[in-house]
């Protein structure tokens, strides 16, 4: 049967090539043979391909230009300790170069990426705190009684302004709240971060507050009213007589039941009958004080932390949210109390991330060295 050139152009040349190599079987072979029988040009193509394959098979071997035998110097160089070690990676007992361990390289990359991301997540917030605190502006929002509107969003300052908001809302702590009351100083809320801003204790309007950096500096001085730095607040608390109240579940800020749990050693009878400032003192002090935190059951601590996190975004002018917000930074980055679970959590993430990063790099490098060695 005569076929036109156009018809041949539509034929499957690779099928003919497969037939020339003897590859196709079954229906494919039948189709190829039918095609070759029907199209003379396909038949010619098949004959040419067979001839080319035959000629390729008898190609003369190129002449070797030199001798490739190893000299003793080559052998000594190839037997160096490093080479031996690298070669051992490719040995069957190590097997790390085998194809079934091909996943090791991408897995190593993934682990290293996760570790790097974890490190960034764990380290960047603390960096932002240290950077942000130097240029922080006063918190004018506190004047409106809403600390959540403060321009500075760093955890430390937020807590300070939150607590400040609580205090500015007209909640003055009672005289029995904390030991500073006995020394005649302006009465801070016991254990609260609110007193770290002396302007509040002095009754200054928010516009007259010093900068946040100044607030922090003041709070760090031994003479300041910052209750968190006072030894009496960090002292172990006898817990027998003090009912432990879950902070996140405290129904009423400044309730008398919450205060003794913290201040029993400091001020005797529970005070804070005047509102949420006492509760703020208790909540913040409890978080800052490892002993007090340790008294809390794990579930209670978790609930308290969760509540603190949930309420940190709400207006904190009054009510229990004030107290809990003041405590929130204690669970965050810059909190004191290294033994607290919150502090442990902040340390665990970078540690785990570093381990992940290290493991990923190791995995990647081992596989790479093993593969290159076996070649």
């Amino acid at each position: 049967m005569a076929m036109t050139a156009n018809a041949h152009a539509a034929h499957d040349a690779e099928l003919v090539a497969g037939l020339a190599a003897g590859d196709p079987s079954g229906s494919a072979r039948t189709a190829a043979e039918r095609l070759v029988a029907a199209c003379p040009r396909c038949a010619g193509l098949r004959a040419d391909l067979v001839a080319i394959a035959a000629a390729t098979a008898v190609l003369p071997a190129p002449v070797r230009p030199r001798d490739f035998r190893l000299t003793p110097a080559d052998a000594a160089r190839l037997r160096s300790p490093w080479r031996r070690w690298a070669g051992s990676l490719a040995q069957p007992r190590f097997a790390f170069a085998q194809p079934r361990f091909a996943f090791a390289q991408p897995l190593g990359v993934a682990l290293a990426t996760m570790g790097l991301a974890g490190l960034l997540v764990g380290v960047l917030p603390s960096l932002s705190v240290s950077v942000g605190s130097s240029g922080a502006a006063p918190a004018p929002a506190a004047a409106e009684g809403s600390a959540s509107n403060a321009p500075d969003s760093t955890p430390f300052l937020k807590s300070a302004t939150d607590a400040a908001g609580a205090t500015a809302a007209g909640k003055q702590p009672g005289p029995g709240d904390a030991s500073p009351a006995a020394s005649g100083e302006p009465l801070p809320a016991a254990g609260s971060l609110a007193p770290t801003n002396p302007s509040l204790a002095a009754g200054l309007p928010p516009e007259a507050w010093p900068s946040a950096a100044a607030v922090r500096t003041t709070a760090a001085t031994p003479d300041s009213a910052a209750a968190v730095t006072q030894p009496s607040m960090a002292a172990p608390v006898p817990s027998e007589s003090a009912p432990i109240v879950p902070l996140g579940a405290a129904p009423m800020a400044g309730s008398a039941t919450a205060t003794p749990g913290f201040g029993a050693a400091d001020a005797g009878p529970p005070a804070a009958s005047d509102g949420s400032a006492g509760s703020a003192a208790t909540a913040a002090g409890a978080s800052a004080d490892p002993a007090t935190t340790a008294q809390m059951a794990p579930t209670e601590t978790a609930a308290a932390l969760q509540a603190a996190g949930a309420e940190s975004n709400t207006a904190a002018s009054t009510g229990p949210g004030t107290a809990l917000q003041a405590r929130q930074p204690a669970a965050g980055v810059g909190a004191p109390g290294a033994g607290s679970p919150a502090a442990n959590n902040s340390n665990v993430l970078p540690l785990l991330s570093g381990l992940l990063l290290l493991a990923g790099i190791l995995l990647f490098a081992l596989r790479r060295v093993a593969v290159r060695t076996i070649r």
Binding site: L49, A55, T56, P60, F68, G87
Partner: protein, 201 residues
């Protein structure tokens, strides 16, 4: 070249190679060099068809033997020739990949008479000229097809490996090997379009 079979007292190449490998693993450089002597011609012929430059082909073969010596412990039995060929093919493919980024004039050594087939005294001049022309045309065409196709064709048609062995050596599927060979032959046929009379009859 010395008679290797006599030197190790073996007639079967497989047994001979196994004994030599075992001795080389224990630090016997002479045993390893006997393996080199046995396979260096084949390895160079294989690599020289894959790598356009003779000097580079020599380097690849030398590096393949270095690599084999370094990794004697990783040899797990089987054909020593296949093991050495796999190492050399890997080296040649690496070089091809590198050359793809820096293309050069392919096969300048085609002008080298050392590439031409050895002629016996029984060859008549006309036939010899025909063979020379055919070899030159085929080498030229082989140098112009894709490196992957060239490697598969050399391993299949010249070295005689089957599809599965080539797939293992080159790290691709069996279907890919077949496809490369078929397409490579079709490409050769296109390149040899005007000179097919050298191959017919």
């Amino acid at each position: 070249m010395q008679d290797l079979s006599a030197s190790v007292g073996e007639t079967d190449p497989g047994q001979r190679d196994a004994r030599l490998i075992e001795r080389a693993r224990h630090g016997d450089l002479d045993a390893f060099n006997q393996l080199v002597s046995a396979y260096q011609d084949q390895l160079f012929a294989l690599v020289a068809r894959m790598v356009p430059d003779r000097d580079q082909a020599s380097d690849v073969v030398q590096e393949a033997f270095f690599s084999a010596f370094r990794n004697l412990a990783s040899f797990r039995g089987g054909s020593v020739k296949s093991w050495l060929s796999r190492i050399a093919v890997n080296g040649a493919m690496d070089l091809q990949r590198a050359r793809r980024r820096r293309p050069v004039q392919p096969y300048p050594e085609l002008e080298d008479e050392a590439w031409q087939p050895p002629s016996g005294p029984e060859s008549d001049p006309e036939r010899r000229v025909l063979e020379v022309e055919r070899t030159r045309a085929l080498n030229d065409a082989l140098a112009r097809i894709a490196p992957d196709q060239r490697t598969s064709i050399v391993l299949f048609d010249v070295e005689g490996y089957d599809y599965a062995e080539i797939a293992e050596m080159t790290g691709v599927s069996l279907g890919t090997v077949k496809s490369r060979i078929h397409r490579g032959r079709l490409s050769l046929r296109v390149l040899l379009e005007g000179r097919m009379e050298l191959f017919r009859g």
